[in-house]
Symmetry: C2
Subunit: 380 residues, 2 copies
């Protein structure tokens, strides 16, 4: 494997002790010993979600958990309010459509965040809305949505509050019970800093009440089956799980617990601030308004006259730092710096060293050291 | 982790070099370097499937691939013939039902195998059948179905031939193109001897023609999206895959190629024969008729007067060998010995040593050494 520093909004670099954990011997996923690991992992997940409810592990990407959230709660033709301000908000809508639901789009300009007032207005306008979906941290635009405030709105309506925290949990403030989130979904490979391939979700009693009255549109992701298998002795999954990835997730969650969730979020906030300041020090322009910008990924407008392939290609091939590009209509127009998981000043020092050299090399008038000074200043 | 010999019909013991492979650094799943690993893995999969068609990797259990096979090919109310002689045959039917299809059960007694004539009769009776599902190796009963002969029947009808080779591929004879299989699905953790968590499938042009005219019932497992992402540069998956598990699968497939698929199947056949002979040498009774018995798992009737928990509990706790029990109505009535993956005489020597001591300890009149002699005889 090549020695590339991953500054992506997932997957993130994985700690050696996590890589060691996943290489442990495979045990029977229906044995007592695995039941213990499984229970420990789901309990740690609930702690990180900040919920008293049970958490569930799915072998699949974050998208599989997004689908599980919709496929188990939506009857044919049911109206669902999808807040869409980027690719992942859109995904919820596409899933709702694929499941035979009746998605109602609340469209937000890509790069901006929805407001609680907009959500209230949409819910007031249509009392048939059965659920609201929102992406906490819109990875595609680098925007964080005010999920706590929106939770206060949604709880006044008879609609489930479904929140995607795939690229925020473990890096930004998520408090499932306090925020009134009915179904919270996440993925392993973002701020949790485990390898990709696992998803997790947690559900309130209100969510289960709906699920118990809906025929699941999926078999593999039928949450009633997960609930039943998960409450057995030993607790297990209905279908064979990725045993090694659960070892890895467990180890990652232990690392989070050792660090302390509050400390971890503060570390991400510091990295986000350092990143934004460094970007501005290079006279580059942030893509979203700063007030709504993400704690885990920073989106930056591509400097005029520089192509994405020159910029990110040089960053990757010459300086061995991998950034993400824009998606869909933002392709070529923005680049994204992921600062999630095990992020410290070290990765930012490398990233902005590489960025200064890259931009200078591509002919931009860059004040060498300016972004690095900004990083240091933020960490001092 | 404890030092238990897994003699299960999956997961199986994983070679150290596979465990080493999965602990390699995570790379970006949308990078050229991952594209190379991904391409190599899907090409190896196609070699093992014995098909000229493209193979696809799914992050999920074998069940996810079973669902993908149905959800992408079945319109609402479409009739599908499900051959059901055990838990996994049943699963295809349950999935078809969950997807809104109209499953037609061809029920076979658990422990017996369907015949080509029965399939022909069912297809002759109903010309609306759009697909036939069959489980090659019914893990729950230890029965192998004659998928080659049934393929010759199905190709005379306008129905897709969908075959689950989850617990046979890499251990029993599977030849996708020759057998006329339209959709073949498998899992990583059985005869391929990779860790659990990945599934694979391959599809013919006929299958794609159907898929192109059906709205996928699933988003996460929408094969059109996998085809599109898989044909990009670099080739990739539509959603984040389990990068580490693909490393592991690739390494496992390389091991298979080094061994040679024919040699590997012969090794499994030898292990199956040795196991059956050893079981008979202990005067235990095989569950399925020997002519239809599986090459990768042997199901045995529980000796009279011995409980499952005493038998398998002693095997596991005292002698550190883990066998599988019966499922559903066979629970307590049979036990199952998995002999798949890296199986040699060594594991059988340990297993039957343990079994002789266990049964003797539980009061059975066992001729010590008889089953071990049978194993040796088969391998001599």
């Amino acid at each position: 494997m090549d020695d590339i520093l991953l500054m992506l909004p997932g997957p993130t670099s994985v700690a050696p002790r996590v890589l060691k954990a996943i290489s442990d011997n495979i045990v029977n996923h229906r044995s007592a010993i695995f039941g213990e690991i499984f229970t420990e992992t789901t309990e740690l997940m609930s702690e990180i979600f900040k919920t008293n409810n049970q958490s569930y592990l799915l072998t699949g990407s974050g998208t599989s958990a997004m689908e599980a959230a919709i496929a188990n709660t939506l009857n044919q033709k049911d109206k669902i309010l999808n807040i869409v301000g980027g690719k992942f908000g859109q995904r919820f809508m596409h899933i709702a459509k694929a499941m035979g639901g009746n998605p109602q789009e609340l469209a937000i300009e890509w790069g901006d965040a929805v407001t609680p007032e907009q959500v209230k207005e949409a819910l007031d306008k249509d009392e048939d809305i059965k659920a609201v979906t929102i992406v906490h941290n819109e990875t595609s635009t680098g925007v964080a949505a005010p999920i706590e405030e929106i939770g206060k709105v949604v709880k006044n309506y008879d609609a489930l509050y479904i929140v995607d925290t795939v690229s925020s949990l473990g890096g930004d403030r998520v408090d499932v019970d306090k925020f009134g989130i009915d179904i919270c979904v996440t993925g392993s490979q973002k701020c949790l800093a485990a390898p990709p391939g696992m998803a997790a979700m947690t559900l309130t009693d209100d969510a289960w009440k709906v699920i118990d009255n809906v025929d699941s549109k999926t078999y593999y992701l039928d949450m009633k089956k997960y609930r039943k298998a998960g409450s057995g002795t030993p607790p297990e999954t209905p279908y064979t799980p990725s045993v090694s990835m659960i070892y890895g997730l467990a180890e990652s969650l232990k690392i989070i617990k050792e660090e302390g969730l509050e400390n971890r979020v503060a570390r991400h906030e510091q990295a986000a601030e350092a990143t934004r300041n460094a970007v501005k020090a290079l006279n580059l322009e942030l893509f979203p308004r700063e007030e709504v910008s993400s704690t885990t990924v920073t989106a930056v407008k591509m400097p005029k006259g520089i192509t994405d392939s020159d910029f990110r290609g040089t960053m990757r091939n010459k300086y061995k730092v991998e950034l993400a590009g824009g998606q869909d209509h933002l392709k070529g127009n923005i680049f994204r710096i992921g600062h999630m998981g095990n992020i410290t000043y070290k990765q930012l020092a490398i990233t902005f060293s590489a960025m200064e050299m890259t931009l200078k090399g591509l002919g931009l008038d860059i004040e060498m050291g300016a972004s690095l000074a900004a990083v240091n200043q933020a960490y001092l």
